[in-house]
Amino acid sequence: MEEFISQLYPFSKFHMSKKCKACNNEAEENEEFCELHKLAYLNIVKAYEEWKKAYGEISFNEFLRKIVEAKESGEAVKEIAFYIMKNNFKVKKE
């Protein structure tokens, strides 16, 4: 059954190899995300500084909520923002 479902739905938990935390695709070597989500993550971290300047003050959670809601945000960005919010993921400063 597990094999059958993983064939139908490849992003399911039944894939055992090192997977991206946001989409379950193969993660980059020694990384937590795949190439696309890693780039989205880096862009989010960079953008937060710009958002803080634009609003004067904005909490990281409020910033994430706004980018998840914005129709202009990329899909990968929304997925990462959602993942961080859901899992209290600690943002590393690159």
Binding site: L8, L36, K46, A70, A76, V77
Partner: protein, 699 residues
């Protein structure tokens, strides 16, 4: 009596040539192997006019190697029916032409005058007519009008156009070498790993084109918008409201935006300056193929391929000149007056042309692009003999109006700007008026300029800021390509040719690398480009493709040798293919995984199950053979949610949500009918409500 065999590219063109060259108007239509051809008399000569249906010969592997083996470097030209399936008709054309060639003393290639036409005629003369290419002549024309065809027949080129033929052969051979080796490498790697067969292709032009799309997709998917504020304000002048613009179109900080609002709202400003500028809008150049494709997409939503097909049909009916041109020039030899006089017979264009005659000099506003073989696209002036389809009418009208507009005067426009100061803040009140419409009148409805008239204003005049608001906005992600903007980029980057670009975009859709009109790259295309960059980056390099294109272009002008260019391409391709071959297992594994993902996505609904939140899938029942939407929770006994689906037609999931309930919309296409777009959830809810109403009414 001497017999001349004239070879045309398509049957419709052959009929036009026969009509034009018959001295007494008599045309004998004959049939050989089910293929029609024509016989006419001209100056006591017998002319046999036959045609091909595009290419009858194609590059293929030398010998009879398996279709799965790679790399392959030895190639030869073979009849198309021996290379591709379903080409029985082509075989009949070759047989018929071979028979007809036996009785001919002279041979003429009258295929379209470009790389492909020259190559089609050359291959037929060389192989079907058993070496007749050495003594054959070439007919050069840009329209299928009687006048031009007779002129072309009178002034035949003494030999075939070998630079064009060599350029064509080179392009086909290189494309074949790239296509066959790279596509087999990808397809075979995936097949050997998974045991399943999926066609995967990548080519010399396909590669860099797909790379553009993937790069854009990556930018869009990882785009984080930035907030900014715009100041929306209205002023009151003598009881009338006018929108005014703040000096800065974007304010990057919220505090600053709020400060502007505070300092201007309900305040009185003063007009400190009034500026006006008159400028000319010159008429547009006549259409080359790309510009026609861009304009047809903008106004009618036609894809580049659709526009090309329609334009070719109009050309074969002698209504317009040859459409596969990159020229924006209209030489006077085409006879401007004659064409305009003929177009005047159509009441739709009569007034515009009469007005054009009042202009002193009849001179088109030519663009910069040139084409050694053909002028820009123009109407021949011949009236359509048969009723055109609605799509053909649209393209024809666009071409005629553009042709007329290029002869028009410039449009004269005046822009006005009042500068208003309020508390050290500057605002602009803008207006525009058309002083003389010029060519724009002729090009209506394809371009119309809006006027915004300002009231009488004076320096020092006071105005009241009635409304001042700071609106929060976000920066926009890069726009997606559509088929036409992608085509334009390919042209700007000099990859592909005007004749092949539209087809390459179509192939990317067919392979499942891209989808939707606003082009989205699929996970498969990400993987293909990733693999190419990892193992053979040159294949997707725009610079390398452009360099090859330039070398091939030089062959057209006799400045480069075909053999040298093919050799260079092979030398670049060989190491890439060997690398792919060595890494077959790794590549196969990566490709198989992503193919599985893509296939699964075709059956996975984005909206979660409304009952349990699990994934919804399109399932086909083994028992009844019927398809429906079912919940993946079913397999673990958790949920039995399901929705019915239409059983007939091709079903696809759209990237669109239902405005009523937010469920993912579906599309069903049945041949010959308009595609049906609907929400499966609302459909069943509405059906249930209807049943309920009927039951209640019955009770």
């Amino acid at each position: 009596m001497k017999t001349t065999l004239i070879i045309c590219e398509k049957p419709d063109a052959a009929l036009h040539v026969a009509k034009a060259l018959s001295e007494n108007g008599e045309i004998k239509k004959l049939i050989k192997y089910d293929i029609p051809y024509f016989e006419v008399k001209n100056n006591s000569e017998k002319l046999i006019i036959c045609s091909a249906i595009g290419h009858l010969y194609e590059v293929d592997v030398k010998g009879n190697e398996k279709r799965t083996e790679y790399p392959v470097w030895d190639f030869t030209w073979k009849p198309k029916h021996l290379v591709e399936r379903g080409q029985k008709k082509q075989e009949k054309f070759i047989k018929a032409i071979t028979e007809l060639a036996k009785e001919a003393d002279l041979f003429i290639n009258a295929c379209d005058y470009d790389i492909e036409g020259s190559l089609i005629g050359y291959m037929i003369l060389k192989y079907a007519c058993k070496g007749a290419h050495v003594k054959a002549k070439r007919m050069k024309f840009s329209t299928l009008t009687v006048k031009e065809l007779r002129e072309a027949y009178k002034n035949l080129m003494p030999t075939l156009d070998y630079p064009l033929i060599n350029a064509g052969m080179c392009r086909h051979e290189i494309d074949w070498l790239y296509g066959i080796n790279l596509s087999r490498a990808l397809t075979e790697s995936a097949r050997k790993y998974s045991g399943k067969y999926s066609i995967l292709s990548i080519g010399r032009v396909q590669g860099p084109t797909l790379k553009f799309i993937v790069e854009k997709e990556r930018e869009i998917q990882t785009f984080v918008p930035k907030p900014y504020w715009v100041i929306n304000s209205k002023i009151d002048i003598n009881g009338e409201k006018f929108n005014v613009e703040y000096k800065l179109s974007k304010i990057e900080e919220k505090n600053i935006a709020n400060k502007i609002v505070k300092e201007c709202f309900k305040k009185e400003g003063e007009i400190i300056n009034i500026q006006s500028k008159t400028y000319e809008l010159p008429p547009p150049p006549p259409f080359d193929l790309t510009q026609l494709q861009l304009e047809a997409y903008r106004h009618f939503g036609f894809t580049p391929k659709q526009t090309l097909d329609i334009a070719e049909h109009l050309y074969l009916n002698a209504l317009i000149s040859y459409p596969r041109t990159s020229s924006q020039k209209l030489p006077s030899t085409i006879g401007y007056m004659e064409i305009l006089n003929s177009l005047k017979e159509n009441s739709q264009y009569k007034d515009a042309i009469n007005e054009l005659y009042n202009i002193n000099e009849l001179k088109p506003n030519e663009g910069e692009k040139t084409d050694p073989a053909h002028p820009a696209i123009y109407p021949t002036g011949i009236q359509p003999k048969e009723e055109l389809s609605s799509r053909e009418k649209k393209i024809y009208d666009l071409i005629v109006k553009r042709f007329i507009a290029t002869f028009g005067d410039s449009c004269l426009k005046k822009s006005e700007k009042a500068i208003i100061k309020v508390n050290e803040h500057i605002f602009y009140l803008r207006g525009a008026r058309i002083l003389k419409p010029g060519w724009i009148k002729f090009y209506s409805p394809y371009l119309s300029l809006k006027e915004s008239l300002l009231p009488p204003l004076s320096i020092g005049q006071k105005v009241f800021f009635d409304e001042v608001k700071a609106e929060e906005k976000y920066t926009q992600p890069p726009s997606r390509f559509n088929p036409t903007s992608l085509l334009k980029l390919m042209e700007e980057q000099s990859i592909g040719t005007k004749a092949t670009r539209a087809e390459i975009i179509d192939i990317l859709y067919k392979r499942g690398y891209i989808k939707d009109e606003r082009i989205t790259a699929t996970p498969l295309s990400f993987k293909i480009i990733k693999l190419m960059l990892k193992y053979c980056s040159k294949i997707v390099s725009v610079e390398f493709t452009r360099e090859l294109e330039e070398m091939m272009k030089k062959i057209e002008f006799g400045k480069e040798e075909r053999e040298k260019v093919v050799l260079k391409a092979v030398n670049n391709l060989k190491p890439a293919i060997m690398e792919l071959k060595n890494k077959e297992v790794e590549i196969g594994k990566e490709l198989s995984e992503v193919i599985k993902q893509v296939k699964a996505l075709d059956f996975t609904i984005k909206t979660p199950c409304p009952n349990c939140g699990s994934q919804l899938l399109i399932i086909k029942s083994k028992k009844t053979g019927k398809r429906f939407i079912g919940c993946s929770g079913l397999w673990i006994g958790k949920c039995r949610f399901s929705l019915p689906l239409p059983q007939k037609g091709k079903l696809s999931l759209l990237n669109k949500e239902c405005p009523e309930c937010g469920f993912q919309m579906i599309q069903v296409k049945i041949a010959g009918r308009k595609p049906m777009i609907s929400c499966p959830k609302c459909f069943i809810t509405n059906l249930n409500n209807k049943k309920l109403t009927i039951t209640k009414a019955g009770n």
